[in-house]
Structures are given as C-alpha cells and as structure tokens.
C-alpha cells in the first residue's frame, strides 16, 4: 500500500471516527439527542459519499482514467465554473425557467454529465461537486454538502464509460441497472401516489411541498428511460452519443439517489418520501437534459476535436 493511499484511508477513518465520537459523546450529554436535528449528519454523508468515490477508485486504480494531468486540471476548473454559472443563472431568479406539470428544469446538470463522459471520472466528480458548491454559494442557497457529493457522483459515474474498451457491451449492463433503478422508483411511486412533491411549489394552493406528486413527475424516471432508448435508437451509429447518454443516466440515478436517500436521515424523511418526493422529481427531469443537451454537447465537442486535432 502506498503512503498516499494510507494517508487517504487514515483521513477518511479519522473523519468517520470524529462523527462517531460526537454521536457517542452527544448521547451521554443528551439522551434524547436526535442527530438529524443537529445538521451534523450532512457532513457524515459527505464522508460516506467520499468513501464511495474512494472505493470505486481503489477498485479501478490500475486504469489510467484517474490520471490527472494539465488537461484534466483545466477541464475540472472549466466544468466546475460552467456548472456554477449555469446553476446561478438557471436555478436562481435570473432566468426563471418555467416548470411543466410539477417538473422544474435544471439544464445545468448536463455539464457534469458531459464533462464526466468526455474527460473522465476525476473531472466529472470535481465538476459536479465543486460546481454545485460554488453555484449554491453564488445563489445564496447556503450549504448542502451531501447534494454536492451527489452531483459529483453524477459526473464521476458518467465518466466511468472510459473504463470499458467495448462501449457497446458495457451499455447494455448500464442500461439494465438504470432500468431497474427507474422501475423500483416508479413502483414505489405507484404504491405511494399520495406523497407530496417536495420540490414543487403549488402557486394555486399557496403551499410548498404539500401537493400530491403529479403523474408526469412520478413517471419522469421511466419517461427519461424511454427518451434514452430513443436517443440510442436515433444515434445507433454514433456510439459516443449513445454511451454518453446511457452512462449519464446511470450517474444521474445513482448520484441524485445518494443525495435523496441521505435525506432519510438528515431531514427525517420516510424512504417513500425521499424517493417519491425528492428522487423522482429531480432525477427524472434531469434525464430530459441527459437525453437532449448531452448529445448536442458531445456532437459539438467531437466537431471541435476534429477541427483542432486534439
């Protein structure tokens, strides 16, 4: 084991031990302590998210996909800055992109997906995590570090496509996993149709997060999946577009899923509320961007590569 690897493991263990210590000491001080009321769990989930990244890295460290050279450093910075600027512009109040049937649009999510796919998992993770952090700071949203890690995972998983030499074969496995996640989410929605959409403000009734999730928002993961199938069919001769869209879909489901599920402990949501009220209305619509904007970006970048020869 190299010195570097050991120091990373020790750091992660120290962080987890710190929070475990706080939890144990806290229970001695206050027996009725609920950690979800202390905001500390946000940081615990950052540790867990980073641990997941580290495990993926350990499992694939022989591969060159984790190499970070000059090019990757610059792309990390460009990706994170673009994600922050687009988040600020589209998620804030500069341009209020209208929502349709309880689904609000977050076009910025296409950036970590594209950067992850085009430049690798390290670039994708940095773009999603740091970009989300700066975007939140710019819009004054405060700090939701577990969502930053979730966004980082979106970019990282999209970048795992580079691991596979035979992209076509990997796509089917990725697609099956994504379809399973979408199916599970949708089944949970069908069993809990009365759960409110936590991400939607109902103007008519003057209520935020209390309106029952719409059919469109509830089925958005499946709709996204269908869109991805369509893109794969339309671009069946362009493996890059098909791979970018399919891997982005998996990244989106797992990354946003991680952040939404962490809210079961952080905000005290029930698993059904976290999945139906948070995961579906955010991960589902993200798929629309994966299916439309990511292919455009991949095609435009391919043209730039042809032009510059790099």
């Amino acid at each position: 084991m190299t010195k570097k690897l050991l120091s990373v493991i020790l750091t992660l263990v120290a962080v987890l031990a710190f929070f475990l210590g706080i939890w144990l000491i806290g229970r001695l001080i206050n027996p009725s302590l609920n950690l979800d009321q202390t905001a500390l769990l946000r940081f615990v989930f950052v540790g867990i998210g980073l641990l997941i990244v580290f495990i993926v890295y350990l499992a694939t460290r022989e591969s060159k996909i984790w190499d970070v050279g000059t090019r990757e450093v610059v792309y990390m910075a460009i990706g994170a800055a673009l994600y922050a600027v687009f988040s600020y512009l589209f998620n804030g109040t500069v341009f209020v992109v209208p929502s349709v049937s309880q689904v609000s649009l977050r076009p910025a999510i296409a950036i970590p997906m594209f950067f992850g796919y085009a430049f690798g998992p390290a670039v994708g993770f940095f773009t999603g995590a740091v970009g989300n952090m700066f975007g939140d700071a710019l819009t004054g949203f405060g700090l939701s570090p577990q969502w930053s890690v979730g966004n980082g995972l979106v970019g990282m998983i999209a970048g795992m496509a580079i691991l596979f030499k035979d992209k076509k074969r990997s796509l089917n496995t990725v697609f099956i996993i994504s379809a399973l996640v979408a199916a599970i989410g949708t089944v949970i929605f069908l069993l809990n149709k009365t759960i409110p959409n936590m991400l939607f403000y109902d103007v008519d009734n003057n209520i935020f997060g209390d309106q029952q999730i719409s059919w469109f928002a509830g089925l958005s993961a499946i709709i996204g999946l269908v869109l991805v199938v369509l893109v794969r069919f339309l671009f069946r001769d362009n493996i890059h577009v098909a791979a970018a869209v399919t891997w982005s879909m998996l990244g989106n489901f797992l990354g946003i899923g991680f952040a939404a599920i962490s809210d079961i402990w952080i905000n005290g949501f029930s698993p059904a509320v976290a999945i139906v009220g948070e995961f579906l209305p955010s991960a589902g619509p993200n798929m629309i961007f994966a299916a439309i904007l990511v292919p455009i970006l991949v095609a435009a970048y391919a043209a730039v590569q042809r032009q510059t020869g790099r």
Partner: protein
C-alpha cells in the same frame, strides 16, 4: 480574456488576516450557523457577518449589484417561506394561527388566502437571518481575497497541488464565463432568440436552451487549449509546485483560527445539548392565544 472579481487591496479586518486563516474561519462559521434555527443564536452570527461587512472597506458601489441580487433572492425566498411555510414542516408540527386573510374575489374558482401563524412567521425571519449571514460572509470572499493568492491558499489548506490549482482556476473562470454567457445571449438576441419567450412542451423548452448552453461550453473548451499549452510550457505537474508568494501565519491568524474552531466546538456542544433549535417567542404565541 479573463475577467476578474472586483478585488483590490483595502485596509480592513478581513484583509488583515492570512487568506488560509480566513477560509478556515469561514468554514467554521458556515458549519456553526447551520447548527441553529433559534433567532437569538442566529442574531449573533448575523451581527458577526455585519461587522465583517461594514469593516471590509468595500464600497456600496462595488458590491451593489451582487448584494441587490443575493439580497433580493433571499428576501424573495424568505417571503415565499412566510407565505407557504416551505421547509418549516421539518421543524415544527403544530401551528398557532395569528391571522387568516382571505381575498374577497375568486380566480377561476380559487380564493387566494393567507394563513399567518406564529411558527411560519418566526421560521421565515430565522431563515432570513440564517441565509443572509451565510450569504454576506460568502460574497465578501471574492472581493477581499487576492486572485494571485487563490492557488497558494488552497495549497496551504492541504489540498494537493493540482486540486489547489484547479480550485484557483475555477474561481478565476466564474466571472469570465458569466461575461461569456451574457455576450452569447446578446449575440443570440441579435439573431432573434428570445429567452423570455421560452414556451412549448418540456422537450421543446430544453432544446431552446441549447443556443445558450452549447456555445458557452464549447467556447470555453476550445479556448482552454491556450491555457493548457501555457501550463505545459511551464512544466505544470512535472514536480512539486512552487508558488511565487509564500504565506506565513502571524499571531493574529492563529487567534482567528482558534476563534473559528472554538465557535464550531461551542456550536456543536450547544447542538448536542439541544439548544438553538427552532424558537417561537412566548409573546407571539400569546398573540395567537396559545
């Protein structure tokens, strides 16, 4: 061409500290603020933020645009919170109604109404104090942190060379891409593109955003070749990086770091004891007849 934040050297409290010490303090302040929902506790953090703001030496003219945007955004969301109680459901289970207002008219069968409760009111005020404190402290960083020190600051905080430099570049690129976005939007408008009129189905709306998102992204990537070449020519990443400016902690920096850590430890302790949770003044509850 890079566009920079409006940094300039000023005689101020914030700029008298080592940037690493300030970032550590900022991190502790941020984490501490997040531990509270009680307005009495949050007032302390708000006061601290206002002291830093008013002693920052930044003129209103310089910060006006950013403050108006973020201030407006926070006010808008706090007002929305007041109207709807969004997010409050996680903190209180019961509401004491102060007043219920109902409009005398109907819109398509819907009668606009507003339920003002003690909890909703206090939650929106607490939220305003909480988010405004964080926003003020955050917004001051690009105005008071010398861009030449971004990289060495992050390196000094323990990040690896490459990640520190990536953070440095990210902070430098943000204003540049903001400018590029507005230039692209002007160019598209000159061609008849109207963002304000984005309409149609979901897919149509997304497609209509492409003329803004794609040129800015691709222009940024294409333009990065010059930066990559310049870095490669200077042998970036070949060996451990050296920095032109060396940062050295002074006693006042240790004091600031100590104060930040103490603030965080006390905040965590208070939180573990169950202090600083959502609070509604007894007077307000009495007004509601509780």
């Amino acid at each position: 061409m890079l566009v920079t934040w409006r940094y300039r050297p000023r005689k101020s409290i914030i700029q008298s500290f080592d940037p690493r010490a300030w970032i550590i303090f900022f991190g502790c302040y941020l984490a501490s603020t997040l531990l509270f929902w009680d307005l009495r506790y949050l007032s302390f953090f708000l006061l601290l933020a206002l002291i830093v703001l008013f002693t920052s030496g930044i003129r209103w003219k310089e910060i006006r645009k950013a403050m108006l945007f973020i201030g407006g955004f926070i006010l808008f969301f706090s007002f929305l919170t007041f109207l709807t109680g969004r997010g409050g459901m996680e903190l209180y289970a019961e509401e004491h109604v102060l007043r219920e207002l109902k409009a005398s008219f109907h819109i398509l069968g819907w009668q606009p109404s507003l339920l003002i409760s003690a909890e909703k009111t206090m939650f929106s005020i607490s939220m305003l104090a909480r988010v405004f404190s964080i926003a003020v402290m955050t917004i001051l960083i690009p105005y008071s942190l010398n861009p030449a020190l971004y990289g060495v600051t992050f390196r000094g905080l323990g990040l690896p060379d490459k990640i520190a430099y990536a953070m440095d570049l990210t902070m430098r690129f943000i204003p540049t891409f903001g400018r590029d976005f507005s230039l692209t939007m002007d160019a598209q408008r000159a061609r008849g593109y109207e963002l304000e009129k984005i309409s149609g189905g979901l897919a149509a709306q997304v497609r209509k955003l492409a003329p803004l998102v794609v040129p800015v992204t691709i222009h940024a990537i294409a333009g990065s070749e010059d930066i990559i070449d310049a870095m490669d020519l200077r042998a970036f990443g070949i060996g451990p990086r050296t920095w032109l400016i060396k940062l050295t902690y002074k006693p006042r920096d240790y004091f600031l770091i100590g104060f930040g850590i103490l603030l965080l430890v006390i905040s965590i302790a208070f939180s573990l004891w169950g202090w600083g949770k959502f609070w509604v003044p007894a007077g307000l509850l009495a007004l509601a007849g509780a």
